[in-house]
């Protein structure tokens, strides 16, 4: 059925639009945008008081299928995605088996097509099995449908291999997404090295475990001409390095997670394993630097790093729990705090969640241009709600934000012209 969205505040950074108006979706595409539109035999959504924006695109998510369907499946993951306003999700390849061949890529695309919720953008691995030794057949991965590659979960430790990977990827035309972490510097650390790791007696991960590899990968990108995207930037040090590289004209982009913008190392004093993440929650000064970086464009995108884990896996002594928290369903309200805190306006926020990811990945979407597939999110910026376990759509509920009162909610999500979420409920 065609859809008419009325009375919303339309925000489209790509077209430079921020004004009240209607949007008409016909045959899955945006057919009219702006002004007052009248049409009958349509599903009408009243977006009065709400923001109508291009559907969010998550550049960094772990959907766990194949291999850990107990934590999340493509079905439950893409449902969580649309609930959070995401119309496309980039799925990281550290599944079991690893997504390192056309068969794996095609499996993911098939499953996503069956599920019919958000679109899935498979991220292929850089090395076979993510073993850090052998390059994947990148041309094949691209043909099968990958726009990017990553060994996320770890860095490619061998600098020479990373250099060749970037050279090859730039030849094939794939974005290289780098999880920057020096394995030895990080060691068996579990939280940011600083006053708080000292007070809590927890094994530390220094900021330099991230920043030294950010520096390395940027230099390798400069050398090879590759398009590099830095995953989950967490430190002021990394921000400074990226800022300098952009000034020099290096083709580097960067993302930050909502949790790195919201929580700090001090918040670990209750030893809540749901706050155990990699890279770890950092110090207040780092959080400030990340927000400034979003404001001045050093960081281009907000990506969730949605990482489901079972309750039984997280309900452990802090050291023994796995790293990661879910984030698809809380991204919008947490990111919206940046607007409250005046680091971004709504256009800027939509840019970070939608336009920039599309541009960086090179995928369609991120805009409400006429003729484009209708991937749309409708947001109530004033709605206050409490994130409780019964509301969680993801199969896992490892979130430290459970119990938080949040402001800002996705009320409706449209994917390819089909309503996926209506009035806060999955359709």
């Amino acid at each position: 059925m065609d859809i008419l969205i009325k009375n919303g505040r339309i925000i489209d950074p790509v077209q430079g639009i921020d004004k009240k108006g209607d949007i008409l979706v016909e045959k899955g595409k945006i057919s009219q945008i702006g002004g007052t539109i009248k049409k009958d035999k349509v599903e009408t959504i009243d977006a009065k008081g709400k923001i109508v924006a291009p559907g969010f695109i998550d550049m960094h998510s772990h959907l766990r299928e194949p291999g850990r369907e107990d934590q999340e499946t493509i079905d439950t993951g893409l449902r969580a995605a649309v609930k959070g306003g995401f119309t496309k999700v980039a799925a990281m390849p550290n599944t079991d088996p690893v997504c390192d061949s056309q068969a794996q890529v095609k499996f993911l695309l098939e499953r996503a097509a069956e599920v019919k919720k958000a679109g899935l953008l498979p991220v292929g691995a850089i090395t076979k099995g993510r073993n850090g030794e052998q390059l994947t057949e990148m041309e094949e991965l691209k043909e099968a449908g990958c726009l990017s590659i990553s060994d996320d979960g770890s860095s490619v430790d061998n600098a020479d291999l990373m250099r060749r990977a970037m050279e090859y990827a730039s030849m094939v035309g794939l974005l290289v997404i780098s999880h920057c972490e020096d394995r030895e510097l990080a060691g068996d650390g579990v939280m940011h090295e600083g006053f708080w790791s000292t007070v809590l007696g927890m094994k530390p991960i220094p900021a330099e475990a991230e920043s030294t590899i950010v520096e390395r990968d940027i230099q390798l990108a400069e050398m090879t001409g590759a398009r590099l995207h830095i995953a989950h930037v967490s430190t002021a040090k990394s921000v400074a390095i990226i800022r300098g590289a952009k000034k020099r004209g290096v083709q580097v982009t960067a993302e930050v997670t909502p949790h790195h913008l919201t929580l700090r190392d001090e918040d670990l004093k209750e030893f809540d394993a749901n706050m155990k993440v990699n890279p770890p929650l950092r110090a207040a000064a780092d959080v400030k630097a990340l927000k400034e970086a979003l404001k001045d464009g050093t960081i281009d995108a907000i990506a969730t790093d949605h990482a489901p884990h079972l309750e039984s896996e997280k309900e452990k002594e802090f050291d023994y729990a796995p790293f990661g928290m879910i984030g698809l369903e809380t991204a919008l309200p947490l990111a919206a705090r940046l607007v409250e805190e005046k680091y971004l306006d709504w256009t800027g926020l939509v840019e970070k969640l939608s336009a920039a990811p599309a541009r960086i990945l090179g995928c369609p979407g991120g805009t409400l241009k006429k003729g484009e597939a209708a991937d749309i999110v409708i947001i109530d910026p004033e709605q206050e709600w409490t994130y409780t376990k019964d509301k969680v759509v993801s199969r896992s509920s490892n979130s430290p934000f459970l119990g938080w009162k949040l402001k800002g909610a996705v009320t409706d999500t449209i994917v390819g012209g089909k309503i996926a979420v209506r009035d806060g409920k999955i359709a």
Binding site: E193, G194, F195, S197, T198, V199, L200, G201, M202, K203, P204, E270, F271, S312, E315, K316, E317, F318, D319, Y320
Partner: protein, 312 residues
Amino acid sequence: MKKIRTKWTKKHLLGIEELSAEEINLILDQAQGFKEVLERPIPKVPTLRGKTIVNLFCEPSTRTRSSFELAAKRLSADTLSVAASSSSFLKGETLKDTARNIEAMKIDMIIMRHSCAGAPYFLSKWVDASVINAGDGAHEHPTQALLDVFTIKEKLGKVKGRNISIIGDIAHSRVARSNIWALTKLGASVTVCGPKTLIPAGIEKMGVRVACGLEEALKDADVLNVLRIQLERQKKAFFPSIREYVKVFGINRESLEKYARKDVLIMHPGPINRGVELSQDVADGKYSVILEQVTNGVAVRMAVLFLLSHMK
């Protein structure tokens, strides 16, 4: 036994950080009373009769475990010891399940030592019993700090204004952290000293002075609390060799004669690596109060068990 009006309101003893100076002094005063009990021919009081106290030790221990067990027995409580190394932990049973299963046998208190920081906090969320931290990773070892402070107070009359130097592997030491909290709360001046690789980030913000070398740490010190150096640290490049560690940081007659006051008190939480952080003669010397620490430990732990059981 002197009757003290109990102002203890905490259900658990997880660390010194959350205690006030008054609460620390309350424990010390109570411990003084129990020390007198321990000197009687029958060193026992019926105070905790009918209570069941479980020792859950997931890491090896001589002093702390024995000390807690004796403390409980001296108070007439029933004790149960679960050593992780011979329990179903080996079969993969989680801490949460272990604790809840034991609690299902109706117990009042769990004393836990664990290699992970935060484990007692985690435990306290899953059991109704009182939880006492007997050491959690590098985080805290509250009863050790309490008995250390008790010993200093007993020997020197007061803690306030005294200079205490903690020497050794500060980074990995729960004893150091708990002592820093207790001593600074009671107004002592604390200095930490050790290889730079073993001084953790930002420790000055805990209110301590970081000494660059033994000379600075020993000069004017009233007490030296010498920490055990873990020989495995040498394998991970924290220092090049034991030989060099002893040369630069070893507390022995030479270093004491060079830098310290003659009557400086020597403390050590045990176990001692004789000839490494502490030489034989200093460990057994005139100013060593190491064994007194152990004696005081039982009294302090009796005080802790008593106060937690009678929490209002």
